[in-house]
Symmetry: none
Subunit: 210 residues, 2 copies
Amino acid sequence: MPIRILLADDHQMVRQGLRALLEQEGFKVVGEAADGHQATRLAQELTPDIAILDLAMPLMNGIGAAKAIGQASPQTKVVVLTMHTEAQYVLEALRAGIRGYVLKSRAAGELVQAIREVSRNSTFLSSDISDTVVDAYLNKVDVPTDTLSPRELQVLQLVAEGKTTKEVASLLNISVKTAESHRTRIMEKLDIHETASLVRYAIRRGLVQP
Amino acid sequence: MPIRILLADDHQMVRQGLRALLEQEGFKVVGEAADGHQATRLAQELTPDIAILDLAMPLMNGIGAAKAIGQASPQTKVVVLTMHTEAQYVLEALRAGIRGYVLKSRAAGELVQAIREVSRNSTFLSSDISDTVVDAYLNKVDVPTDTLSPRELQVLQLVAEGKTTKEVASLLNISVKTAESHRTRIMEKLDIHETASLVRYAIRRGLVQP
DNA sequence: TAATTTTTAAGGTTTTTACCGGATTGACCA
DNA sequence: TGGTCAATCCGGTAAAAACCTTAAAAATTA
């Protein structure tokens, strides 16, 4: 029985390319998602063996999606596929429970290898990921953590993407007032008082692309 | 005789995926490049019919590569493949002599269509490209793009720094209304509709630090 | 279990934006 | 030299968004 895969990347063209590559290798791509929300919903519905998640996605980024999928479909193992080599991203992903971390700058063979390793319960990190990062994770060295709650991170990402409070509310299925509350609280916590600074903060945190 | 294609994108995995898709369609990918320099060299060496260029590449970006290829291999037609929908990217690309502009967020079919159109000397723009840009292009109207006036750049920077419109006005010794109309005009020019996107644009332009 | 944080929400107020308009200056061009 | 156009400037009004305060389930943690 082929390994069943969910593919999440915000660029349809990239997804189609990856699908072609993966199907050549005998994997079965059972679903595609363009954002973290959709990925989570599809993971719950399809319970794929592997979810391949881009880190930079709108509405909900890869980290958020990894956590959500861990809840919605525990048997699904997550492989992150990204351009980011920075330690911060890797560690955050590992803490979110991902099993593989593959760089887009590497050959497709690495993704294939990652899928095979992860699906037999091992882990896989692209060869460019420094050993120090892994050490840091294993030794549980303290890295400055976000004081923001998961929900707040979600709201922050959406705000930084340019969503209005109304849009945020409807995307998260909460009232406008609640969305407002979240944003107010984020600003309080971060001691930030304008949207522009919030956007810059979100970019520094890697929640959105510049 | 199949259409001969040069593929340039800084992510090997994406290139491999696109190659798979294009070869399924009967095109012949004769070369791959990971940056603008390499793309230019290969274009000169291989004189492909079509060069597909990502805009975001190291060493030399897609625009620079498009111009260089126009010199090095005049018979090669350039199709830009990117995630950017902003007017200034599109127009800049058009001015650099590109023949197709395709968004990565669209289906691969659009890239195929673009290749066919361009290779028979037509042009192709992805359907998400704003109508105003298309109009500007079709009417050959010289629409100002990133040619923000000095005053507008000033306002943009202040806005991106988190200054309120009121603060901008007082810093520049103009009325709030004037500051507002500057910002409105900036957004018009850039085809951007929220402050958050404006901030991200300013960061990309290097006007402010993230 | 108790304490705390998170997430949710509303009512009333203030601020900002969107959209309409027009005026002036200076540069460029036919 | 008169016309055009971009840049700069400013105002009114209606709508939208943000802000302030309060608060109560729900989830987490101690």
